[in-house]
């Protein structure tokens, strides 16, 4: 028995994020095939799948870094309407700076490694139009504090920090403007277990305290299980199964999901 996207609704909630029939090819390789997803306000959607399944490509499209060949993407926000893939570069940049935060697996993609940590966060505020110096510094510290970054290291550049601390700076940058949507691409991969737990705890706390809607991509099923309300399983660019997180882990229906869940240590 599968649950259709248009299943009867008890509550007329409006999804914050709606992606429909998104496809993307690079030459002969179809990276993402006809992917549709809805994420409701405050919800955490986890996307799992092996390397090359298209999960990170799909996430980059949600961050408007990539444009698909076909498909639509809308966010239920007062300042935007219509298909976001049709926005020009400037409008995309402003929307991402103000309403969408992202944390990459590789901090080099998200941070200026030789600038101070607080400067990295302040840069996000500058892009969004904040110009008052004292305000910049205060808001950057506030975001770093919410990400549980040690404030005595505000001026340290990320290159001098550990992997876990670098992820906190990325997180602070992503939440500095109270985004409506937070995208996380393998945020804990490569971190040792105790640091991983700290980052996961910070994410969970932020999600609960600020009701931030999140999409998290990871090949680590433990991370997805800890954070996600719903899970989408991708393979070779397509969604093979989607459902409530506990259902995906306890009673997977698709042969590939069963293989994935049973392979977990």
């Amino acid at each position: 028995m599968t649950i259709a996207l248009d299943a009867p609704r008890l509550v007329q909630a409006q999804p914050l994020l709606t992606a429909q029939n998104v496809s993307k090819s690079y030459g002969d390789v179809q990276a993402v095939r006809d992917v549709s997803a809805e994420v409701f306000p405050g919800e955490v959607l986890g996307i799992v799948g092996e390397s090359g399944s298209g999960k990170s490509t799909f996430l980059r499209m949600l961050n408007l870094e990539e444009t698909p060949d076909t498909g639509t993407y809308t966010l239920d926000l007062p300042e935007v309407e219509g298909n976001l893939f049709e926005l020009d570069r400037f409008a995309r940049r402003m929307l991402c700076a103000k309403r969408i935060g992202i944390v990459y697996q590789n901090p080099h993609l998200g941070l200026l490694m030789n600038h101070s940590s607080s400067g990295n966060v302040a840069e996000r505020l500058l892009v969004a139009g904040e110009r008052r110096f004292t305000e910049l510094r205060e808001r950057a510290s506030e975001a770093l504090q919410a990400s549980e970054f040690p404030l005595e290291r505000l001026d340290a550049p990320p290159i001098e920090l550990s992997g876990g601390m670098q992820q906190r700076v990325q997180l602070a940058k992503a939440i500095a403007l109270e985004p409506a949507l937070l995208l996380l691409d393998e945020p804990t991969t490569g971190l040792d277990v105790s640091v991983q737990a700290l980052v996961l705890d910070t994410l969970k706390r932020l999600q609960q305290d600020r009701n931030i809607t999140m999409v998290i991509v990871s090949h680590d099923l433990g991370v997805i299980r800890t954070l996600a309300d719903r899970v989408m399983v991708m393979r070779r660019g397509a969604v093979v199964e989607a459902g409530l997180a506990d259902q995906i882990f306890q009673d997977p229906q698709h042969a590939y999901t069963q293989q994935l869940v049973h392979a977990k240590l």
Partner: protein
């Protein structure tokens, strides 16, 4: 009496792709449940008691049937409801109590217990005060309230789990062996809390290894033992 749940011809099996087969769990189960009613599921190991609870909660996917739930938001078939609705119903109206705590790293016992209240919109200080009350009620030592339950013994974890699962009154409560490995104080606190919730109208479906613990609460028993099972292999429930 107010009807809470109508289960009609519910069938569940597990498809195991690597074996190329389907394992039947139960077939064509039908029953109704009223507000304040306590239904005990009985049957030998593997009869499908826990599977039935998980199918009603939508952790398991049913093969066919209907599970009509009368929510305060309206009436809906739980087997076909959108996931966003199931999440909402789990927050507000349908509780699941197991013997296992899903502890999270670096989250204290009191924060874990307070979480359902926080998610239901209670203020942080109120939720925390209520959480402490229930931790005390279930016999969790005060020195452990601000510790991380990941390091607790199985019994202590279960007490935290019960405090969390029962802190918020629900319309329907699914109980999967909640008394297993509990000491007598916690068991008494559990039975008292269940009686209180039942009196206030919570409908319950439970699986208990020792149903005698909740004998005074049971209104009805459903036997999931397959009809073909010989009498000597039947697991009689003494209530």
């Amino acid at each position: 009496m107010t009807k809470v749940l109508e289960v009609q011809s519910l069938t569940k099996g597990f498809t195991m792709h690597h074996l190329g087969s389907t394992l039947a769990a139960f077939e064509q189960i039908s029953f109704d449940l009223q507000a304040g009613e306590f239904l005990l599921l009985k049957g030998q190991n593997g009869a499908g008691k826990s599977t039935l609870l998980r199918t009603l909660y939508r952790s398991y996917v049913a093969q066919s049937g209907q599970v009509i739930f009368h929510s305060r938001h309206g009436t809906i078939d739980l087997l076909r409801a959108a996931e966003v609705d199931i999440s909402l119903l789990r927050r507000e109206e349908i509780g699941f109590v197991t013997q296992f705590l899903l502890a999270r790293p670096r989250v204290t016992a009191e924060a874990l217990v307070a979480e359902p209240l926080r998610m239901a919109g209670h203020s942080a200080p109120d939720a925390l005060a209520e959480a402490r009350k229930w931790l005390a009620e279930f016999g969790v030592k005060q020195s452990l309230w601000r510790a991380y339950p990941t390091t607790f013994s199985g019994g202590e974890q279960q007490k935290v789990n019960l405090a969390r699962a029962l802190i918020l009154p629900q319309k329907l409560l699914l109980l999967d062996e909640p008394t297993a490995s509990l000491d007598s104080q916690a068991r008494a606190a559990l039975v008292a809390r269940l009686a209180e919730l039942k009196a206030a109208g919570t409908a319950m479906i439970g699986v208990f290894h020792h149903p005698g613990d909740v004998a005074d609460l049971i209104d009805r028993v459903i036997d999931l033992t397959p009809e073909t099972t010989p009498d000597e292999e039947r697991n009689d429930v003494v209530v």
